[in-house]
């Protein structure tokens, strides 16, 4: 089975500094993969390059059979790879429902003139979008807040909206950048359950960066460890937990549960 | 006609006008570098400076040097007050700050129209006669402009390099975040940067007042030139502005020798647009923020 995401020899330099160096890994459909490493290890840079926010300095990225390196983020999303952001980012003046609606428009394919003319094809496509938005509202538990203005909600909810917007783009693979940051242990456990539901019931593969070790160990099948831009280990949670190189470089430091 | 003479004259004229562009551009860059605001009223401060000098000389009979100093002082204070009263609310909102400078420019220009009327006023020239450097003619009045410009620039250099306030200002221009992390206080830097920036424009206006005429509409061309210099030199780069203004002066002067000024302006704008598209960081500036 070909991997859903295949990253090969990926590098990204800033001036002379290698933020990511020669990163290679594969993610298969249906996997939940964690990307961990100390601060400054290049995890967010790797995300930015994979999602298209930054062009790579070297290497290639294959997603669902397509070479996506160098594509703009909006293009990458239309191929089915979406990402969320570390700090809660929403459309502050729009309602939660509107926020998701804007995400769902990613794959909306009706030409502008047909939109204005309100053709049948347009109306059908729009109905589908609204149904998808409703579905995502349910999955993420945001349905009670659908008419609240996003900017006024608590940080934890805003983060969830961020994830929901990513889901609304109907991705095959969702990249999550520190989704648990700022969540208390209870919210964190809830979030882990959500991730598993997304994979089990909605066939969305997940790759996420996280400092919250408990969350990573409990939800991921595969963990990739990045230190100073380079992959130093990859394997199951047990393998990684017991890997001496990883312990020395990263886990040896007493990581408390709140990252 | 002697080619070397033409080039020589163009070069000299170009350097002279380049110094003026430099005064405008440094002030503009200072304002942008400190406040991240494109000051659409910058040309009107040039005009303000010209009028202050005009009033000092013709109504108060002050000597020219004193008039120039007074212009600097008055505009510095005015700029400080304007920043605190008007622009302070826009710190952090560059777009709205920029649009508010449009309003500011309208107020200044129409204020001048109300006070002085639209007709050009003339000031007595600072000096008469011409000095010749070989075949090249240098009007004395322009030489005065050169001398004063160089003096102002030298003082500015000393201030920016060797005084606490000046060094702080430079730090803010170079990197606002690092500067504030080092504890440089923005509530002093913003009005100082704006005040000095527009005072420099005013000095340029004062220096040129005896050479050209003084009227409320003289601000638009200097504004345009400041834009161009700052684009070519890199927004926020003072050395870039220095290089670009002298280059602009010389190139413009040379081009005007061989083609109409409208034609040379068109080529200039075309070049500037291309520059913005392919190299927005300018000749020396940092990459577009």
């Amino acid at each position: 089975m070909t991997a859903l995401l295949k990253v090969d020899g990926l590098s990204r330099y800033f001036g002379g500094l290698a933020a990511v160096k020669d990163l290679s890994f594969e993610l298969n459909a249906g996997e939940i993969v964690g990307l961990i490493g100390p601060n400054g290890a290049g995890k967010s840079t790797a995300f930015n390059v994979i999602s298209g926010s930054l062009p790579p300095s070297a290497g290639n990225i294959q997603f669902a059979g397509q070479q996506i390196e160098g594509m703009k983020p909006s293009q990458v999303v239309r191929h089915g790879l979406a990402r969320t952001f570390q700090s809660a980012t929403v459309y502050p003046t729009a309602t939660v429902q509107e926020n998701l609606y804007r995400g769902a428009l990613a794959r909306f394919d009706v030409p502008v003139w047909a939109q204005i003319a309100q053709t049948a094809r347009y109306r059908n496509a729009l109905r589908k979008v609204r149904e998808e938005v409703d579905e995502v509202l349910e999955i993420t538990g945001l349905a009670p807040y659908r008419n609240e203005v996003a900017g006024g909600l608590a940080y934890g909810h805003q983060k969830r909206i961020g994830v929901a917007i990513g889901l609304a783009t109907r991705p095959r693979l969702l990249l999550l950048d520190e989704p648990a940051a700022g969540l208390n242990p209870e919210e964190c456990a809830e979030f882990g359950g959500l991730l598993k539901t997304l994979r089990d019931r909605h066939e969305i593969s997940l790759l996420f960066v996280e400092h919250h070790m408990a969350l990573v160990m409990n939800t991921c099948e595969k963990i990739i460890v990045l230190v100073q831009g380079q992959k130093i280990a990859q394997g199951t949670p047990d393998e990684v937990r017991n890997n001496p190189a990883v312990i020395e470089a990263y886990l040896g430091v007493d990581e408390d549960a709140h990252g | 006609m002697d080619f070397t003479f033409l080039i020589g004259q163009a070069l000299t004229n170009g350097l002279i006008i380049g110094l003026l562009y430099l005064l405008m551009a440094i002030g503009f860059t200072l304002v942008f570098g400190v406040m991240r605001v494109v000051n659409f009223a910058h040309g009107e401060f040039y005009m303000l400076g010209a009028f202050v000098a005009y009033v000092c000389v013709t109504r108060f009979q002050l000597p020219f040097l004193v008039a120039v100093l007074a212009t600097f002082a008055v505009t510095l204070v005015a700029g400080w007050l304007i920043e605190v009263v008007v622009l302070k609310g826009f710190r952090g909102n560059e777009l709205n700050g920029m649009i508010s400078t449009i309003g500011l420019g309208m107020i200044l220009q129409n204020g001048a129209l109300l006070l002085f009327g639209p007709d050009p006023q003339s000031m007595p020239p600072v000096a008469e006669g011409v000095v010749s450097l070989g075949p090249i003619m240098l009007p004395m009045s322009r030489l005065y402009v050169v001398a004063f410009s160089i003096a102002v620039l030298a003082l500015l250099y000393l201030f920016l390099m060797h005084s606490k306030g000046g060094r702080a200002l430079r730090a803010v221009v170079q990197d606002t975040e690092i500067a504030s992390a080092q504890g440089i206080r923005s509530h002093l830097m913003y009005p100082l940067g704006f005040g000095i920036g527009v005072a420099l424009a005013a000095v340029a206006g004062a220096l040129m007042a005896p050479v050209f005429s003084v009227s409320p509409s003289i601000g638009s061309t200097p504004l345009l030139k400041a834009f161009i210099v700052v684009i070519l030199g890199g927004l926020g780069s003072i050395p870039g502005a220095a290089l670009a203004s002298l280059l602009l002066g010389v190139v413009e002067s040379g081009a005007n020798t061989f083609m109409s000024s409208a034609m040379s302006d068109m080529l200039l704008f075309g070049f500037v647009i291309l520059m913005l598209i392919f190299r927005p960081s300018g000749l020396l500036g940092k990459s577009g923020r």
């Binding site: 999602s51 926010s53 930054l54 062009p55 703009k72 983020p73 909006s74 952001f85 980012t89 459309y91 502050p92 003046t93 729009a94 309602t95 509107e98 804007r102 428009l105 990613a106 794959r107 009706v110 502008v112 939109q115 204005i116 729009l126 008419n147 203005v149 006024g152 917007i165 609304a168 783009t169 | 942008f32 008007v86 826009f90 909102n93 560059e94 777009l95 709205n96 920029m98 649009i99 508010s100 449009i102 309003g103 500011l104 420019g105 309208m106 107020i107 204020g111 129209l113 109300l114 834009f227 684009i231 927004l235 109409s260 034609m263 068109m266 704008f269 647009i273 913005l276 927005p280 577009g288």
Partner: protein
């Protein structure tokens, strides 16, 4: 590295949560607007009719400007596209004796085509850099008109432009042209209302509200802004073509920086986030210079002060007053 992916967006600060989207309330004001449009027909003063025509053309102009503004970019060469539409249509009418409708279509097409070419290259510049390049382009266009020799009439422009006419009927009276202008202005308003109810319109607001998020959730910043720039500039061209055939002459100074700035002022004072904003801005700011010709300097000073006050206390423009009064009410 593209400047567009890292530069901060220049959209005005979002209003406090709960402010809501005023555009959803067009049902409330559109009927009132129809009545307003009908009013000038009851006046016999050519002066007021003239003002009414100008208001309508400004509505079209500022509506066009608002499209790009909603995506977070501000164009300082909007008047240049108005000029392109004007000059292209006038050249067609006077030199090739083309029928009015065709000339206007040509004017719009020229403005749209140039906007497409220019926008493709400059829209990747964000914020300040975009402002500066459009400012320079505006100046460049004015110089091209000045130096256009016999094609553009140079500084004197082109005069003796035949009045607008359709199917044999000439709109050569102020009243008849007003009807034409009002219909066109109303059409531009309806177009915008319809547009902002569609996903394409939502994309415009998304890019303006949170550029990074929009791009990361599948909305192409480049394509969205280009769409807004082309459509907005085409509307400016349309307004220019109409203006030229109303006044009967065009000159480079009719389409200079002052006009671009005036459009921006109208937009900001009216309100940048709503379809009602350009209408209010045009309605309020167009008649004033004409009504107070004797005190134009004082008036301009008041404009400047109003602009600054609006920016400070009502960044959403006059439309923002209605929003504040209405209170909570998000857009579903």
């Amino acid at each position: 590295m593209h400047a567009s992916s890292t530069a901060p967006t220049m959209k005005p600060r979002a209003p406090d949560p709960g402010a809501g989207h005023p555009q959803a309330h067009w049902r409330r004001w559109l009927p009132g607007l129809l009545v307003l449009f009908a009013l000038p027909l009851f006046t016999s003063s050519p002066f007021y009719m003239h003002l009414a025509v100008l208001v309508c053309l400004n509505i079209i102009l500022v509506n066009g400007l608002s499209l790009l503004s909603r995506t977070g970019q501000l164009s300082f060469c909007h008047a240049a596209f108005m000029g392109m539409g004007a000059y292209a249509s006038v050249m067609a009418t006077t030199q090739w004796h083309a029928p009015f409708l065709l000339s206007v279509a040509l004017g719009v097409a020229v403005a749209a085509a140039v906007a497409y070419l220019l926008g493709s290259v400059i829209l990747r510049l964000q914020g300040v850099y975009f402002v500066l390049v459009t400012f320079c382009f505006g100046e460049l266009f004015r110089l091209i008109l000045l130096e256009g020799g016999s094609h553009t009439g140079g500084a004197n422009g082109i005069a003796n432009i035949p009045p607008a006419s359709m199917f044999g009927f000439a709109f050569d009276t102020k009243t008849s042209f007003y009807v034409l202008a009002a219909v066109c202005a109303f059409a531009s308003i309806v177009l915008l209302i319809a547009l902002f109810r569609t996903p394409q319109g939502t994309a415009l607001d998304s890019v303006g509200d949170n550029q990074e998020l929009a791009e990361a959730s599948g909305i192409s910043i480049q394509r969205t802004q280009l769409f807004a720039f082309v459509l907005g500039s085409a509307m400016a061209g349309f307004a220019g073509a109409l203006l030229a055939h109303y006044l009967g002459f065009v000159s480079p100074e009719s389409f200079n920086q002052h006009i671009s700035v005036a459009a921006i002022v109208m937009l900001v004072i009216g309100g940048r986030a709503s379809v009602l904003g350009p209408i209010l801005g045009a309605l309020i700011m167009t008649p004033l210079p004409e009504l107070f010709r004797s005190a134009i300097e004082t008036q301009n000073i008041l404009y400047g002060i109003t602009l600054i006050l609006v920016l400070k206390f009502l960044p959403g423009g006059l439309v923002g007053i209605a929003t504040k009064l209405r209170g909570k009410g998000g857009k579903a």
